[in-house]
């Protein structure tokens, strides 16, 4: 399990990162915790002649909670999210999701930036960020730009980030209402067979708004606007849940793999979404 040889860089600032990316183009890759990229390099599924380790770059490890939004630096780890009480108070769904990612060792190393930028349909944070309507900030030679999480994912491992750009932070509007991140997996450490992120607002016993995104049920995360819309104006009763599940099933496009055939994945997606909506509603 020895990866191909590479040149290793550990620049101290973003200018240093960008100049290496500019020089080597798509022969260079940035790495945060490395817990997606290193396994791919060991299997020689990823060839990275120039590996840029971001660990010494300042300014990407902070979690800032303000009155209307949360900014999470790309190098913030899943363990940092779990441990940050202020963050958990402001957006408890982040901790609930982070605790369902991989295992403790991997959560110390795996980062928010890596999880959202990698573009692996199995990663949990992309769907979560679509549910929360987060914005990703990327920086390149031409400066910074912001991309909505809902517009970021194009196909498996293909995103709106250009090769010479680096994702530096995630900004999340302060979530309101009830929440749930529900995930079915075969064992600890596995990717989801199906997962659902739900934020829901209850006004006088009626659903005022609902945001729903699904993980690992297409080659990108799926923000299902129709599933959320099916709940709005209802008391989230059985008929509304059925309608939301039906709408969600129209938006996902699972493929058969070692987690099961398509019919099974559709079934699990429905079960998981029901559980997530019911739990989110009970907390709203």
């Amino acid at each position: 399990m020895i990866p191909a040889a590479f040149e290793y860089y550990r620049p101290k600032d973003m200018a240093g990162v960008l100049s290496i990316l500019e020089e080597h183009g798509d022969d260079a890759r940035v790495m945060a915790g490395g817990h997606s990229l290193i396994p791919m390099m060991k299997l020689r599924l990823a060839n990275v002649p120039h590996l840029i380790d971001l660990q010494d770059v300042d300014g990407m490890s902070g979690i800032d909670v303000s009155t209307d939004s949360i900014r999470v630096g790309a190098l913030v780890t899943q363990a940092d999210i779990i441990d940050n009480e202020r963050l958990t108070e402001a957006a408890p769904i982040l901790k609930e999701a982070a605790l369902q990612i991989a295992d403790p060792q991997i959560r110390y190393m795996g980062t928010v930036g890596g999880n959202v930028a990698n573009g692996d349909p199995g990663n949990d944070m992309p769907g979560l960020m679509q549910c929360l309507d987060a914005v990703f900030t990327v920086v390149g030679a031409g400066g910074e730009r912001n991309i909505s999480a809902r517009d970021f994912y194009e196909a498996a491992y293909m995103t709106a980030r250009e090769d010479e750009e680096v994702l530096t932070s995630v900004t999340i509007p302060l979530p309101k209402g009830g929440y749930a991140y529900e995930k079915q997996k075969r064992k600890i450490g596995d990717y989801a067979t199906a997962a659902a992120a739900v934020q829901i607002i209850k006004d006088d016993g009626v659903c005022g708004s609902a945001s729903i995104a699904m993980t690992n049920l297409s080659d990108t995360p799926i923000f299902s606007e129709a599933a959320g819309a099916a709940l709005v104006g209802t008391t989230v009763d059985a008929a509304a849940l059925d309608a939301a599940v039906t709408a969600m099933l129209g938006d996902i496009d699972p493929t058969e793999d070692n987690r099961g055939p398509v019919a099974f994945k559709n079934h699990v997606a429905g079960v998981i979404l029901r559980r997530a909506v019911e739990r989110a509603w009970s907390r709203a």
Binding site: I2, A5, E7, P49, P104, Q105, G189
Partner: protein, 164 residues
């Protein structure tokens, strides 16, 4: 490309300097270069946890880190927490409560448990099972591992109280 580079890491309090290729996995650095063979290679795919070490206060699977990333860091392996004449309470508890059978996963289990008990000094069974979920054992069925960690926690907490 990728000529050997100079690296310096601290392992169990001792500074080690050597030349290595950046792509060398830390588990091989420890086992084959530094002859620190407590951390084991089980799956070598980030799943089993047999290679777990503590790096700057975090439990890390040493099969999933390049030596270049570890440059300048402080690493503790099972060898660094106790030995045959001065067993760590966790080592002693695993011995007393049959927390191992073949023993292959044990160094990773124990070094992970040191960190778990640092974060949660008096864990419930559920917290132990969740906190140890990155370490796989194929012998014990985990029951005696949980018992061992509970016993070590009790002993360490009692010792702390006695010292205060």
């Amino acid at each position: 490309m990728s000529k050997k580079q100079h690296y310096a890491i601290t392992v169990n309090g001792k500074e080690e300097e050597f030349l290595a290729e950046p792509r060398e996995l830390l588990i091989y650095t420890l086992r084959e270069r530094l002859n620190i063979t407590g951390p084991h290679i089980g799956c070598e795919t980030s799943h089993c946890g047999a290679c777990t070490v503590t790096i700057d206060g975090k439990s890390v699977k040493a099969c999933t880190m390049f030596v270049a990333q570890a440059n300048g860091k402080d690493i503790t392996t099972i060898e660094g927490i106790g030995g045959p004449d001065n067993l760590h309470p966790l080592q002693n508890a695993f011995k007393e409560h049959h927390g191992l059978q073949c023993g292959y996963c044990t160094p990773g289990m124990i070094i992970r448990a040191t960190k778990l008990l640092e974060e949660i000094p008096n864990p419930t069974e559920e917290e132990i099972r969740f906190g140890m979920s990155g370490n796989i054992c194929r012998c014990t069925g985990y029951q005696n591992i949980v018992k061992s960690i509970q016993a070590a926690a009790a002993e360490m907490n009692a010792a702390k109280e006695a010292a205060e």
